[in-house]
């Protein structure tokens, strides 16, 4: 009996120890760390993507819960630079990479119905490509248990600790990037403000960090923009239905919604307008959206033509995402649209 107990106790103790280590070090950032965001909030800092990882859903709900939010934006990674005006406390950016109508509906259902909100909803055309798959940004407890007990997390965690010993004692630390403080770990390449908006490190400190590069359009849709527009045959009815459910819920709650297409630089707008593999669906999307939003009593602000925002081609560092300056102008267009009578 003694040897059976030794086996079971030792095996379970080792697994529990490994799980605790993985939870603490969390090398793939799959554990939600509200403490890091709280530290950023308390210290007036940004929080590094290294600490948010894939837990966007938890992060954005936390952002909403800790602000007297009256206006928020949802959408893909292309709306993330839309931020609060200076001094504004009632705005939150609840967009995140891997958003889609299903994640927006899930988020809407999770948010309180009151007080009434003004919602800026960036709708991507590629969401209506059925081939676009939505990554899991809200992993289940089971997935988390698997992760915590995995050897790959443990060995990668050991490499992290070798690189930065302090992680054994402090799960994160305060770092300086330019004139900003960042709650991070080793390399803060992407950072989040406490209003949920994103800021690239090169925007904080252009001398220390270099800009992301823009990949030219080669004509290969499988590689262009992560393949989001490849093999796009029809507008996905399922996603349209989910989008309508989100709009119906917003109307039921008395929220005001302004829809928009995230701005495109001129050369990419040209691709979308003229490439025969995309253009028919792109134009169908541009036709459908204003009607869809109007059906629920909401405004469609367009904005797909970045030049009319106005944003310069140089304000899209990777020819896909807008930078902070362009996004501030987008925010002003959205505010104007929200003030228009619905």
């Amino acid at each position: 009996m003694r040897r059976l107990v030794v086996f079971l106790v030792l095996a379970l103790a080792l697994l529990a120890g490994a799980a605790t280590f993985n939870w603490w070090v969390d090398p793939f950032a799959e554990v939600w760390k509200p403490g890091a965001v709280a530290d950023a909030r308390a210290g007036g800092c940004l929080v590094s993507q290294e600490l948010i990882g894939i837990r966007y859903y938890s992060f954005k709900r936390d952002v909403f819960a800790h602000r007297p939010t009256r206006t928020f934006v949802v959408g893909s990674s292309r709306v993330l630079e839309i931020a609060s005006h200076p001094g504004e406390r009632t705005f939150a950016n609840l967009g995140y990479p891997g958003s889609a109508p299903e994640t927006i509906l899930k988020l809407f259902r999770a948010l309180p119905a009151k007080p009434r909100q003004t919602v800026y909803m960036g709708v991507e055309a590629f969401w209506l490509n059925a081939r676009y798959t939505v990554p899991d940004t809200d992993p289940s407890a089971y997935h988390l248990a698997e992760y915590l007990l995995s050897r790959s997390a443990f060995t990668t965690g050991l490499k992290f600790v070798r690189q930065a010993h302090y992680i054994l004692y402090d799960r994160w630390r305060k770092d300086e990037v330019g004139r900003h403080c960042v709650i991070g770990r080793i390399f803060p390449s992407i950072n989040w403000r406490v209003d949920g908006s994103r800021v690239w490190s090169w925007e904080l400190d252009p001398r220390r960090f270099s800009k992301v590069g823009a990949a030219p359009f080669t004509g290969n849709l499988e590689t262009w923009r992560n393949g989001y527009y490849a093999d796009w045959r029809t507008l996905d009815e399922r996603r349209i239905h989910l989008l309508e459910q989100a709009l119906a819920l917003a109307r039921e709650r008395g929220w005001r919604v302004v829809g928009f297409a995230p701005p495109e630089p001129p050369h990419m707008l040209h691709v979308l307008d003229t490439d025969p593999r995309i253009a028919p669906r792109w134009h169908a999307y541009l036709t459908l959206m204003p009607r869809l939003f109007a059906r629920y009593g909401f405004v469609w602000a367009g904005l797909e033509d970045g030049a009319r925002v106005p944003c310069r081609a140089s304000e899209y560092p990777d020819a896909f995402h807008t930078d902070g300056a362009c996004s501030a102008r987008v925010r002003r267009r959205l505010d104007e649209a929200a003030r228009r009578p619905h």
Binding site: M1, R3, V6, F7, A11, E146, S150, R151, F154
Partner: protein, 462 residues
């Protein structure tokens, strides 16, 4: 549900084992294990248990009728109907797609009609895992009752336990009821030594699977994805690597099955005994997947006449038995070719022996190992082109090739284990002292933490 998965290791197994020993009555325990085994099977697909229940019912009723019937021709009829009944399910789910595909190709050549609807239906037939194993168990039961070497089981619960017992359900060993029946009559009290011994054997199997077989798979799969590019060294390294991979994978499953059954007080028959140490193909089949090879011998080769009707008939029987054995592994011509290849090796061994040919044992072991490795090419590469490319690489027709360091390291470790230590079920785990037990606990923790990225067992496909 895989043995190498979190739901099994941290949910199913501890719960079922704890409940098994908590239930005071023997029949309730049997019922608990049968229910748990059906749940285990349903985890793969909800409708699979219905097939197993049907197969169980056919062989159970067949056994009862065989015992009740006295007239020889009626007994033969009952046996035939019983075997056809259980084989029909296997035939439909395992071979309809294979045979239907070839039939439709043939019709297409004659009539130029493609029949896309029928083709799509045929190719959509899903093979329920484990069906090959419990079908053979049902057949062996019917034949044993028919031959009078086994009394038919009257208790349906015990019989259902025999067919469904989860440790051997998915990938064997192929158990005969004569081995299990006496064990099912005993009430098994909780025995810490036996449970520990079972856990240790299970741990050795788990470690062999996730650390060795999966480690080899990573490199073998990588190289064999492009067989046309493999030079002499890489081609041989990949083929030998696959030989070790499939051995560790399948024997690991058998070790785990034996260990799990032991926890519940059941001893299952061993299935492997370091087959790569064999000095002839005949010896190889006495050490490789033994419960299948003895099944084929007792229920196919001997009824066909075995070696009692002359050399030619013996050779034909060997080819037929091994060809069907190959087909049992999968509904594909490459498996038939692999089976026939081994049939030729076995027949060749008999002829060689009759002519007095023999080699010193180390040379004979090396020759057998190379011949078996050559056969794995047919087993692993599913297309004729892939088989041709890999054989060409092994013959040096693609040049010498680079030395794949990581693969060779795995192969060297595998060879050291295979040729240096006995098969794991022979290890005296029940006598291990606390230091060995603690080392096994560490091994379990490492292996269990590796299941996150583990592959399914190769033999699940068969």
């Amino acid at each position: 549900m895989l043995f190498n998965s979190f739901p099994f290791l941290f949910g199913f197994l501890p719960l079922v084992a704890a409940a098994y020993f908590a239930v005071p009555r023997h029949r309730l325990r049997l019922l608990l294990v049968v229910a748990a085994s059906y749940y285990f099977y349903a985890y793969a697909d909800w409708w699979f248990p219905a097939l197993m229940a049907g197969s169980t019912a056919v062989s159970y009723v067949g056994g009862r009728l065989l015992e009740a019937e006295r007239l020889a021709h009626r007994r033969r009829l009952v046996l035939t109907l019983g075997i056809v009944g259980v084989l029909a399910v296997l035939g439909y789910f395992k071979y309809a797609s294979f045979a239907g595909g070839y039939a439709l190709d043939f019709v297409h050549v004659i009539t130029q009609q493609r029949f896309p609807g029928l083709r799509s239906f045929v190719s959509s037939i899903v093979l329920p895992i484990g069906i090959s194993f419990y079908t053979f168990e049902g057949i062996s039961y019917l034949v044993d009752v028919y031959r009078g070497t086994l009394r038919a089981e009257r208790d349906l619960l015990r019989y259902a336990f025999f067919i469904s017992f989860f440790p051997h359900l998915i990938a064997g060993p192929i158990v005969r009821y004569g081995i299990l029946q006496p064990q099912l009559l005993e009430k098994h009290r909780f025995d810490a030594d036996r449970v520990r011994s079972g856990l240790l054997l299970f741990t050795l199997g788990l470690a062999k699977k996730v650390l060795l077989a999966d480690g080899l798979a990573r490199y073998v799969d990588h190289y064999l994805a492009t067989p046309a590019q493999l030079g002499f060294v890489t081609a041989w390294g990949s083929a030998i690597g696959f030989g070790f991979q499939i051995y560790f994978d399948f024997s690991a499953y058998s070790d785990m099955a034996l260990g799990l059954a032991r926890i519940f007080g059941i001893e299952l028959p061993w299935n492997f005994d370091r087959p790569y140490r064999s000095a002839s193909p005949t010896e190889f089949w006495r050490r490789w997947h033994v419960t299948l090879s003895t099944w084929l011998r007792d229920y196919l080769y001997i009824p066909l006449g075995g070696n009692r009707k002359g050399e030619r008939r013996r050779d034909a029987n060997l080819l037929a038995t091994m060809g069907l054995g190959g087909l049992w592994h999968g509904a594909s011509l490459n498996f038939v070719a692999w089976g026939l290849y081994h049939g030729v090796l076995l027949a060749g061994t008999h002829h060689g022996r009759r002519r007095g040919l023999s080699l010193p044992r180390p040379l004979a072991v090396a020759a057998t190992f190379l011949l078996v490795t050559g056969g794995w090419v047919l087993f692993r590469m599913r297309s004729a082109a892939g088989i041709g490319h890999l054989y060409a690489g092994m013959l040096g027709l693609h040049g010498f090739g680079g030395v794949p360091g990581h693969l060779f390291l795995y192969v060297a470790i595998s060879a050291a284990l295979v040729f240096g230590l006995p098969e794991e079920w022979r290890w005296p785990v029940e006598r291990w002292n606390v230091v060995y037990v603690a080392a096994a606990a560490v091994l379990f923790a490492v292996a269990a933490s590796s299941v996150y990225t583990s592959h399914p067992f190769l033999y699940f496909r068969f």
